[in-house]
Each structure stands twice: as C-alpha cells, then as structure tokens.
Symmetry: C2
Amino acid sequence: MKALVYDGGLRVQEVPKPEPVAGEALVRVLSAGICNTDLELLRGYMGFRGVLGHEFVGMVEHAENEALRGKRVVGEINCVCHTCHFCQIEMPHHCLNRTVLGILGRNGAFAEYLTLPEENLHLAPNSVRDDVAVFTEPVAAAFRIVEQVKFTPADRVVVLGDGKLGQLVAQVLWLHTKNLICVGKHRWKLDLLKNLGITTAHTDDLIERGVDIVVEATGSYEGFSRALELVRPEGTLVLKTTVAHPTALDLSVPVINEIKVIGSRCGPFRPALEALALGNVEVRPMVTEIYPLSEGVRAMEHAGTPGAMKILLHM
Amino acid sequence: MKALVYDGGLRVQEVPKPEPVAGEALVRVLSAGICNTDLELLRGYMGFRGVLGHEFVGMVEHAENEALRGKRVVGEINCVCHTCHFCQIEMPHHCLNRTVLGILGRNGAFAEYLTLPEENLHLAPNSVRDDVAVFTEPVAAAFRIVEQVKFTPADRVVVLGDGKLGQLVAQVLWLHTKNLICVGKHRWKLDLLKNLGITTAHTDDLIERGVDIVVEATGSYEGFSRALELVRPEGTLVLKTTVAHPTALDLSVPVINEIKVIGSRCGPFRPALEALALGNVEVRPMVTEIYPLSEGVRAMEHAGTPGAMKILLHM
C-alpha cells in the first residue's frame, strides 16, 4: 500500500499493508488531517520514524467485533496495555507502555490502511461527513480542557492562537462560556471565528490583563510568554503547544504570580463527535485544501505555510 | 546608618536612616538572613537597586500602634495598596502596586534600620531567639505550599533540593506527611534532615518515578527537568525556584503528561512562627556563619559558595 513515511526524509512510498493483531481492526483510511504535531515530528519531536498521521476517518475492513465491521469510524490514538499502574487506576491515556498512532511506536494514518485496537474506534454518525469526522481527534483535544479546568461564568477566558487548534479550542470553550476572546495574528483566521459569533482580537489589540484562564494554543513558545503577561495572579494557564526543541523560558513570572500551568493533551471522543454531529463546532471553513495521498509531501509543505489552515489527505 | 547596598556593585556604605511614613514602623534590625533570591538580585533578577535583604528580626523603635512599640518583630515583605483589584479580592500579596522589602521598590533589611507598614509586623515570641526568628519568612514560604496543594496520606511527595529552602520545605511538609523524600546533592546537608528523622536520598540514588507531588526547590532550572522526570502523569509540580535569566526548557513533557505546575512564593507568617516556637521546624543547624553587617560583602560571597547554608548578618 502507499503511505507517507518519515525516516529522516519524507516521501510517499510503498510499504507492507499492516496486519491487525488480536483485538485490532484493519481500517481503510478515507480522509486524514495534517496537524502541527506532524510538522513538529519532522523537526525531531518524539524522535518518530514511520508512517505519519493521527487524525483520520476510515472504513473498518476487518474486526472481531461485528458492530464495527464495514462501518465508518474515527479512532482514539493512544493504544494502551491495560496492565500498567496508570491503566489500572483508570488513567489509560497515560499508559506507560502505550503506542500512539503516527506519533510514538506505531504507524499512522497517512496511508491507505492502518490498524488500531478495536476499543479505540468510535462509529462516525452518518450525518458527519468524512471531511468533518476527520476533525474528531483535535476537537476531542479541545474538550480535554473542559475536563481539566472548571469555568465559572465570571471567569474571563482568553484563547491564544487562531490556528487549527486555537480555532477548535475557541469553539469548544465558547459552548461553555461567552466570557471568552480568541486572540490571533491573522485577520482572515479570526474572521472564521467572528462568522460563528465568537469574540476575537488581534495580537496588536490591547487585551486587558488579569485574565482568569488563558489557553495557549499558538503552536509556539512565544505564546507562553504572552500568556504569562495576560493571566492573573493565581490564574490558570492551559498549555496545549508542544514543539520539538527546548526554548529559553523565564519561569520566575509563574512563580511570582503563583500561576497554575496545566499541560493538556488528548481528550474525549464522545463529546467531540456529538459537537460535530450537532454542528456545534463548525470545521468546514477551516479546510484549506485537499490533496491525494500521492501528493503527501506537497501537502505537508503546504500545511507548514502561514496561509494554510487544515490540509487534508484523501486516500 | 550602615547598609549593604547593591547598585550594580555591592558595598556596605552610609545611607540615610529611613523615615517611616504614616502607618509604617521604624525597626532596628537585629539579625538578617541571606537568601538565594539576594544572590539572584546581584545577577539582575527584578532589576533591583538599593538595600538588599528581606529576612529579618528587629526591634520596633517607632510605631503608631502601641502594641508594637519596643517589641521584637518579624515582618511580611509585601507592602500593599489596599485599593487595587487584587487587594480588594483578598489577594493582597499579588497587589498590583506592591513594593517588596529588599526586592522591589523598597529598601531592605541588610541595614541598621528598615521601615515596613505596621500591619506587616508580627511579634516574635520570647521563646524564639533572634537567629531562629530570622527564618520566619522562608519558613512561611514553605507553608505556602500547604495552602496551595492538598496532600492525602497516599500521595508520594518528593522535595528536590537540600539547600536553605529545600530544607525548610522538607521540614514543613514532613509535618503534614511522612510519605516524603528530600533529594539533594550534598551528603552533609541531607544529614541535617536525617538527624531530624526525615527521609532523604542523594541525587545519584534511584528514585522511583511516578511521584504525586514534586516540590522544586533546587534554586536552579536543572531541577525543573529532574522534577518532570519524577512527577507522575497528571501529578503536581510546585515551583519555588526563581532565577534571574531565562533557561532553555522543554515544555512538551508537561503537556504530554498533563502535569500541573504551580508557582509558589510568599506564605503565612502565623504557622511559621508557631512551628519555630514549638520547635517543629529546626533551623539552628542550618546557620553556617554569622557576619557583622560591616562584612556584608564577604557574607554575600560566602553565601554563594557550595559549602554554605544560611549566612546571617548581625547589625
């Protein structure tokens, strides 16, 4: 089968079709999304080698579970052992022995086929089209914030970043509070949010400091310093950005202001699928371009340009 | 009066005796302690210029409040406005207009006299000798952690750092949990804690990972990376260290493991004084040497050497 492989270089090549082991399903990928994490993997993040890609929707071609066979699915990306300490205390997404689709020790979704444990798969509702369902994973990552941080109506919330993740975070948090501003660098990206009725501001605008909860989703550690300027003493800074290389950071501000910095990663698929099905999160305007898998290298290049939002691959 | 002044260079010099304004007391300093923060101020932290020092015990020579006159006192270091937003929501130590004794916009305690708002002063119990009372401020900083983080008996706690602050943090947390290890680099410093019955380990020892709560009190950002190695996914990392210069840090680990990093600064004086009065925190073995104020420069040099713990100045 064809796959987009990173082995120090990036190319589309023929690789063996994966064979599901016990408990795994074989999924024919229909559509897959390029995430900033994929771009960071090319810069050395996680030291990953193999087939990239972790956002997908596909058809189950083989599964032990009848309910999955022939069905359209999306999939959680952490594949866990069920026996380690964290699995046993019901924190499976921190499994010590986990593999992560297209990120850690497991080939990913930029391929004609992938395998995942059946337990990772969720049926995609018929009403959710492929190029919407493919957003389930990043929408779930946005819902993770709601699991981690309690909002009150009085809390002022700022989302930093108008990129792919920032947009989804802003939309998901908007479902929970209207006391929110999404701050970004790009007028046209902010306009996508404005069209949904979400309050936005440009980074050049004056944002009142003393924000209760700041979500850093810029994809760059510059955003961390900006977030520290905005968040109030004893406020909460949710950190979504991961980049490949250490960056010079001053931690004296979070100490002096006694900030709570919370790392936030993968989230729950169920509310994400529901939000997509109900149209509570609107992703279609975020799709910049669709490439065939055979043009995967060009698609990745495009995804790394400032003018791009979500780039999809069709298999 | 004589004072230890930092103005880019460090020297003991004659400066005008401070004059208390309305609401302030004039305090004759008896003993003052050198903190790592003082050493960081010399490296540019906070851009401070003036009389250094914020840990002290002294005699009140002038006060409006009769209860203070002629009394031996210790003092909280944040001087606040009572009118800003944070003062009004009962977070005065985050006052937007604050000055901080010997750290921010206010001359400090390495001098024959200092002034502080009367409301900042606490009577030192007679049973607490000068060279013990002088530790009230850093002991209070250790108690701050207990205000911020809830411990359960099941929580494994690691304190990183066997220096001045690490020792006090370990002792204070030991009052709340015995499920604690203090990890340090210096056998003789760890022995001080062992003598108090506190569990210790050397940084070369194997420490089991998956720690629920790690307190970073090493005084160096290397400790931050070490703390991230030890803390469990969704665990808590309390950050006590402030250093003058930004350091290259990798924040992908706290994101992936969804760590909660909590900055922690000044704490409550009441429990600190009580712990010192009851002998629940033992500080005398931590005093390495006492210098007269006139030898303040040499005292600061000594405080910066690896063999030193607490260096005191007597006025």
